[in-house]
Symmetry: none
């Protein structure tokens, strides 16, 4: 159903959460501390993060601060501290919900359903605009000179990966893995074919790309 990243240092709680979340149909990824949480989150692109505030290395709010600039999905905070100032702090730092330990598992799952119902990642800058075309990430719509353009699923997946990282170089392996899966990391053909199609649909002059640049041997870059 959804991919959940659970961040907690208590093995027992981790185990209980893993079992319950799996039973509810979720895919579960776990991280034992803050630094690995930030790393794993960037790697596996979870739909939602369940974050314990009492971590051994980083403070929970620090993890939140590290997550929020780019992670648009919901974050559910777990904590032993029931003080309302802690709650206010975490919620204002970007948490979507705050559950105090000990908690009821059924309630946690219900709160998870509630935050997931809102739609994965609808906050933040939902559209990218250039002089020639606009990409609406929330509506999944692309318009060139104001006229809507139809994109195939693969074209859209590729474009959204590039557009989500404006100005940054995205490696070919990164793109292939995101769009086609880990088994296609060597099929650089696909990138050539679909980049050409995207340029034909979006670029004012497809022969001399202005937005979708090629970095030979490395990857591709979208420059607004």
């Amino acid at each position: 159903m959804s991919r959940v990243l659970v961040v907690d240092d208590d093995p027992h709680l981790l185990r209980a959460l893993r079992i319950s979340l799996r039973a509810a149909g979720h895919e579960v990824v776990t991280a034992p501390d803050g630094t690995s949480a930030l790393r794993d989150a960037a790697e596996v692109h979870p739909d939602v993060v369940v974050l314990d505030l009492g971590l051994p290395d980083l403070d929970g709010t620090e993890v939140l601060a590290g997550l929020r600039p780019w992670f648009t999905g919901p974050v559910l905070v777990l904590s032993a501290r029931a003080d309302s100032t802690d709650k206010v702090e975490a919620l204002d730092a970007g948490a979507d919900d705050y559950v105090t330990k000990p908690f009821d598992m059924a309630e946690l799952l219900a709160r998870l359903r509630a935050v997931l119902r809102r739609g994965p990642g609808e906050t933040g800058e939902a559209s990218v605009v250039t002089d020639h075309f606009t990409v609406d990430l929330a509506a999944k719509q692309v318009t060139v000179d104001g006229a809507p353009v139809r994109l195939t699923p693969t074209e859209w997946a590729l474009l959204s990966e590039l557009v989500r990282a404006p100005g940054r170089l995205v490696g070919q392996r990164e793109l292939l893995q995101a769009v086609w899966g880990p088994a296609y990391e060597r099929e650089t053909n696909y990138l050539r074919v679909y980049l050409a199609q995207l340029r034909r649909k979006l670029e004012p002059n497809p022969a001399h790309p202005r937005y979708l640049h090629t970095e030979p041997g490395m990857g591709y870059r979208f420059t607004p």
Copy 2:
């Protein structure tokens, strides 16, 4: 900042909430019971609803059920019952958060900020109008060229999902899960059958849809 509809039958609590919410920069509308809450909500189009479950006339979940078909904004439930089964019930009925009384005002405001952060300028309209047909989400009624049209429960569920996100592409998995449940995520047959029925009933020319567009491999889109 935002318009808040507060539903509670306790005058003291109402007064306290009104003062605190005003101080936080919100516009406050109050309703003392369930029936007037539903009426006022349709009338003033609040950005968020704070709903007490213990109302004199209707059960809280009934108010939620009456609200949810058309109200897309967040609902924060307030209740004296701390039992987790009550919480699960309310959250699954469409609530976005659940706070037990007595509560800390600072925490309530923080939770309000958290749920409002998710969907800032989204004002839930009670009816959607196009040149050819209108969809009244609150009354569950569809009229084509002024004449009312009968829709089956499944057709209505599907249409309301699409119409509630005008212009946005709604994935097939999203639709199947919303209408038939998570177990039917692969039955794309259903979508084809019912989309055809909806187009036959609503579109001026069902063979060339003008409002209910198909995005092959991705989903469907309602464009007003």
